[in-house]
């Protein structure tokens, strides 16, 4: 259905006779209706417009329209220097900016032959990325509960998220757009007191994770709203290029941290969490939700291990300073961000400005599967489905 069709829709004429209102069986007859959800809608998590074709309470079809936040990220990268581009990557998935910084920096670093990232920087990167993943999942879970009508978990989630943001604020001065992980290492060093704060946070957060089980995971209303809703079969997920918790919720154990370790992820002990269909159907909204809950615990394990072993030394490579001029070449790298695989394709022509930067954003693909899994569901379930995808429009529209 094109947006043109949505605009030219004629309203239902008034004064329908009783005969026309009933169908052959005497039931109230319903008609198809086009419903515009968004772009300004509290349940679309950003500026997303979904044109929904409904019949009564049923969703016949829907089509997401994206691009409302398009701000030419890729074009900007062709006009500002590489170091300045790192700053733009913050605004992609603004809930996991550490991952964006890292993904972009990794593509640039790959262009330099034999560049070694100092050990200390590797540890700091992993601590920041995993803390950021916890913060991002906390927000995803909190707002998801709110989509479905539970306000309390949101407040609990924000209480914990606040502590993580305060840690980031102390590390790099920013709470959302960090611009901290840069090609060659990280921007500033972390002192011992900060490492202790991170360890304290781990000890504080571990028992808190159990509270979410009481508040949401085992909440009967929540389970009824999410179980067997929006079932995403593994084949469909692969066809649409879904990654991250959305893919793992469908039972596929794919995690780049384990399958294609970057940084020093191969040194840490953690499990890849997958959905098991425990609420009734494999790949339903509940599975996607529960994967996030359990991933937070795994991230916490990584942070604990990294904080215990963080070595001293340089926090950025002395080889990269001043203007960053990668040698001519092309590189494609991906990292496992909170929402899935974030990829960067960078073409360098030897200058300090990249010739071309392409960003492969996970939410872009996770959104595209929404029509497939919401056909035949109720309108209220569509809200539950969109929420369970945990999309960030900043990286969809770029």
């Amino acid at each position: 259905m094109s947006s043109e069709a949505a605009r030219t829709l004629t309203p239902v004429p008034a004064g329908l006779s009783r005969g026309r209102m009933l169908d052959q069986d005497g039931d109230l007859r319903t008609e198809e209706m086009l419903l515009n959800m968004g772009p300004q809608h509290p349940a679309t998590h950003g500026v997303l417009r979904v044109v929904v074709r409904t019949d009564g309470e049923m969703v016949i079809d829907c089509e997401p329209h994206v691009g409302y936040l398009h701000r030419c990220f890729e074009k900007h990268c062709e006009s500002v220097s590489i170091l300045q581009s790192v700053l733009y990557t913050d605004r992609l998935d603004y809930l996991t900016a550490m991952g964006n910084n890292w993904g972009f920096s990794m593509a640039i670093e790959k262009l330099f032959p034999d560049l070694v990232i100092p050990e200390r920087a590797q540890y700091i990167r992993i601590i920041c990325q995993e803390l950021n993943r916890i913060a991002s999942h906390l927000l995803a879970i909190g707002t998801y509960g709110m989509d479905i009508g539970a306000i309390t978990p949101f407040l609990y989630c924000f209480r914990e998220r606040e502590k993580i943001l305060s840690i980031f604020e102390a590390i790099c001065g920013q709470r959302l757009n960090y611009n901290y992980i840069r090609p060659g290492g990280v921007a500033y060093d972390v002192d011992d007191r900060m490492v202790q704060t991170i360890k304290d946070f781990c000890a504080y957060f571990r028992p808190k994770a159990l509270e979410y089980d009481d508040l949401l995971s085992k909440n009967d209303i929540f389970i009824r709203r999410t179980a067997k809703v929006g079932v995403l079969r593994p084949e469909t997920a692969i066809q649409y290029g879904c990654t991250g918790p959305v893919l793992r919720g469908s039972g596929l154990a794919r995690d780049l941290r384990r399958d294609m370790p970057y940084g020093i992820y191969d040194r840490f002990d953690f499990d890849v969490v997958v959905g098991q269909g425990e609420a009734g159907a494999l790949g339903d909204c509940y599975d996607r939700y529960i994967v996030r809950i359990r991933e937070m615990e795994q991230s916490l394990r990584i942070v604990e291990q990294a904080a215990a072993k963080i070595p001293g030394g340089e926090y950025r490579s002395p080889k990269i300073k001043g203007k960053i001029r990668p040698p001519k070449g092309e590189a494609y790298t991906r990292i496992e961000n909170s929402r899935g695989e974030l990829g960067f394709y960078v073409v360098s022509d030897g200058k300090d400005i990249a010739y071309r930067v392409k960003c492969r954003a996970p939410s872009f693909h996770n959104i595209s599967v929404i029509p497939e899994i919401s056909r035949g569901s109720m309108v209220a379930d569509l809200i539950a489905i969109i929420g369970s995808m945990d999309i960030v429009l900043g990286e969809v529209d770029r």
């Binding site: 994206v66 290029g241 294609m260 590189a331 071309r356």
Partner: protein
Amino acid sequence: MDRSTLFEKLRQKFGPRIIESDENGLVPSVRIEPATWPELAQSLRDDFRLDYLSCLTGIDRGKGQGLDAIYHVERMDAARLSISVRIRVPYENPVIPTVEHIWRTADWHEREAYDLLGFRFEGHHNLVRILCAEDWEGHPLRKDYKSPDTYHGVRNNVV
């Protein structure tokens, strides 16, 4: 199967239709003509089980060299087995056969490449703009792109 076996088998199967292959570079890839693409794509998915189209990058090479489309394909259950396919098309006729029936995710990828770089994907069921507005003119990521001075009465390019 590892990467060298994959490249070897592809070279056997497609022979001279693979114009160029770079197995050990930063982006291991093969270069082909647009006409070979549907058959190669089908073969990658069915014979080699590369079921996941990770990314489609479009590049304007500038200086009259044309446009490059780079497809990154890999296996969902084995991230290390991957290949990139490069296709170069001229500016005046940037046509590539669509692969949306092979990987569904190609639908949105191709719409984006059409929108920002002006590729035309033959056979695509709904090749319309996705990120820019429907009535936007030009393809912003082309190197010769000039942004419009006004858009619906809003002035642009003001210094």
